[in-house]
Subunit: 461 residues, 2 copies
């Protein structure tokens, strides 16, 4: 590992002294402002800095300034919300910023001040997870735990790990990625000691349902997710609950790749040359048939949109397979604003007219009589089961999809209700080769296709 100069990497990803000062100074001014406004208005509340800035584990250019406004546990939820938003708004006004109301488990306000995006989140003062009133309250416990347990020299290790995760596309617990959260990265460094030790453990030791229990709570049995990291601030919570098996596997493989052949490139986004003709050609030579279901995304937050799209993708896949079509792979993409694409690459997209329809077992006298009556000479016995040869209504995928994506039949599909409304409103099904000829293709979509065709592209440098 001697051949990689981590310092030169850190030089690029770690905030400069100046950047650091700027963020710290802003944070302090915001906290003073909030506390002052609270005092002036006789509100029993206190502002505190949380998150990666408070922990000293933020990447250069990515300072998320999170200001939590703490209220005593006896405060009613209504007062908490009202006073919290009031304090946030007044502070933003005072600092001459712009503001926007947002929702997590309860509402918060986001301000845009001096070029930073700052969240003002009302929460309760709690001492342990037992007192939790809402999910955001945890953040304070997490911040405290990391500040107490992450050694000064380990902060750089966290930066390396976060940046590595980011460039191999496994960073973020958001549904879009379903990877490792910042807090999870911090805990891994606390547990294993350093960036390299985390990678070595992943490469050598991790297996499905691998368990890490920093505080020896012994509650690992409660969890069956791919990776279990018991929250040191709450023995009944798995910090890695949002991590999908896919992303855990990708991190393991990228770790091995890095350890085998370490390169600085692993800490920086991979450059990809997008070439429309190459992509078109690759889809052509695969000899499969790829369709896109295309519609406008409903206006819901990204963290609600992605699971609904994934659910739709999986539901369409299931329905096609039940109808005997065969799927090679599927994927989905959205710009979160104008466009959703569900990609269906088909191995079998046309079927014969005749179709087998399984019926009851012959042992069940009453069932079999109904079946035999219904299907007459089309019914026969296979081993001990009634079977009928019936006529398939939709012999190709496109006609079948158009048939189920209409008001009377869409109930078979398990969509989020917002997506259902959008699809009923308007959708189109296009062959990817046609689509690639159209004006509608932009670089983001092309990148989606490229990543679909080159699924492992980020795991190597």
């Amino acid at each position: 590992m001697e051949n990689i100069d981590f310092n030169s990497v850190l030089k690029k990803i770690k905030p400069t002294e100046e950047e650091n000062e700027k963020v710290k100074s802003l944070s302090n001014r915001l906290i003073s402002a909030i506390n002052e406004i609270a005092k002036e208005n006789n509100i029993d509340a206190e502002a505190v800095l949380v998150g990666s800035v408070a922990k000293g584990t933020w990447l250069s250019g990515k300072a998320d300034v999170d200001i939590f406004i703490k209220f005593p546990l006896c405060t009613s939820e209504e007062d908490l919300k009202e006073c919290g938003l009031f304090l946030g708004n007044r502070c933003i006004e005072k600092m001459q910023g712009k503001y926007e109301l947002r929702y997590a488990s309860h509402p918060y306000v986001t301000g845009f001040i001096e070029g930073f995006e700052i969240d003002f989140v009302p929460c309760y003062i709690i001492k342990s997870a037992e007192e939790l009133k809402s999910a955001v309250d945890r953040t304070i416990l997490h911040t405290e735990y990391v500040r107490k347990n992450l050694k000064e020299n380990q902060k750089d290790e966290v930066l390396l790990l976060k940046k590595f995760m980011e460039s191999i596309h496994t960073y973020s617990a958001e549904f879009k990625v379903s990877g490792f959260s910042g807090y999870l990265c911090e805990l891994l460094v606390i547990y294993y000691g350093s960036f390299l030790d985390v990678l070595k453990a992943a490469a050598e030791k991790w297996s499905p349902n691998y368990k890490i229990d920093l505080e020896n709570y012994g509650t690992g049995e409660l969890f069956n997710e791919p990776l279990v990291v018991i929250d040191p601030t709450d023995k009944n919570r798995n910090v890695a609950a949002a991590l999908k098996l896919q992303k855990m596997s990708e991190f393991i493989v990228a770790s091995r790749n890095f350890l085998n052949n370490p390169k600085k490139d692993y800490f920086f986004e991979k450059n990809i040359d997008l070439n429309l003709d190459e992509i078109k050609n690759e889809f052509k030579t695969r000899d499969t048939k790829t369709f896109l279901i295309r519609f406008k995304p409903p206006e819901i937050p990204a963290d609600a949109l992605y699971p609904q799209i994934k659910k739709t993708e999986n539901s369409v896949k299931g329905v096609l397979e039940r109808e005997d079509f065969r799927i090679f792979n599927t994927d989905s993409w959205t710009d979160e604003k104008d466009d959703v694409l569900i990609l269906l690459e088909m191995e079998v997209w046309k079927l014969p007219k005749v179709k087998k329809h399984l019926g009851p077992f012959v042992w069940s006298k009453s069932h079999q009589e109904r079946f035999a009556d219904k299907y007459g000479s089309k019914a026969y016995i296979e081993e001990d089961r009634w079977t009928a040869e019936i006529e398939r209504k939709h012999k190709d995928v496109k006609s079948f999809l158009n048939n189920i994506l209409n008001e009377t039949k869409i109930g078979f599909l398990k969509f989020g209700k917002h997506i259902k409304a959008e699809i009923l409103n308007q959708y189109e099904i296009v062959d990817i080769l046609e689509f690639l000829e159209s004006e509608e293709v932009n670089n983001d979509i092309l990148l989606f296709f490229y990543e679909y065709l080159n699924k492992n592209v980020y795991l190597w440098r």
Copy 2:
């Protein structure tokens, strides 16, 4: 059930007084002849009539005269064989018949005398199944049991059951049919009392692994076949061992059909109008693709040929499915002499160039490295498993079949060795629509195709 005149059925299927006399007289003369020849030659043996003629359960026109030549248990196998065949041959000579040597579990001789086909089978004198030396020895115990337990008035019931079974194509334990043997029909009548009671029990009570234990041996747990009828002469044998689930189901369904709407037609072979154009048209409109693998049968006995063909059919089916082709149905046929046809009706017979190849799980470090090295950029991760997109060598069924039916690859298929030799020697793969245009189609083959398209044809009248 009043509306069916079983007597008029029996009139047609029961041997006439004259036919009966003829068979009885011939049998008696044969037995006397054998016993006389034995005496003349100082052979300690005694002839006895067994089988349906001895039991009075034979159908008109189908007298199988089975003469067993019994030897004391102390006789060596060599002597048994030598003396048995000698006695049979001399008897046939004396009666001016023709003879043919055959094999079951040991050799026997068949004579053609006065228009009848008579088997002369050497066997041991045994008193119970424990003394069994060969499978044929059982026949004497079976004959004795039926003579003792089948009431005089139940003989007609057996005739009705056998004829019903025959005309719905579930009669015979031979591999070609894999249905109910004559002995099994007799036991069912002894157990249930009458033809109608057997049908009622099948229609109402039978279920998978249904057990009938006439002598209350309590050994039913030993058997897991679809139907278990413990041999009253051997508690460790299931008389219905050869019965396939398919044929048991067909009998159940035909029984229900008959009981719902009894007709005399159920006792006579169904007339089928074969129409080449209709058959051709039906295959065409199904829109599937049907191939025939055609070759000459090896020269082996029918009871060895059919299982080998079935094994070949199943093996080809399995290999095609593993290769991602999808089968709608398969079947096979032989005239036992010049022609074997394996019919493969395909739902998917063409596939894209790209193919998924599953590799090791990512947890296995060493395996994954070999896989990733081998497939390079074609390898990616699906959940926690390595997968590669590779090129399919054979994109259509015919090319794939031709590829595996050659000397180096045929080892993948599990054939009987005789079939393997024949296929390597010569085979052809033809589209059924082409075949139906050719001169090669005869009525037997056409009937096979008709039955394939109308699988339930015999179960209704």
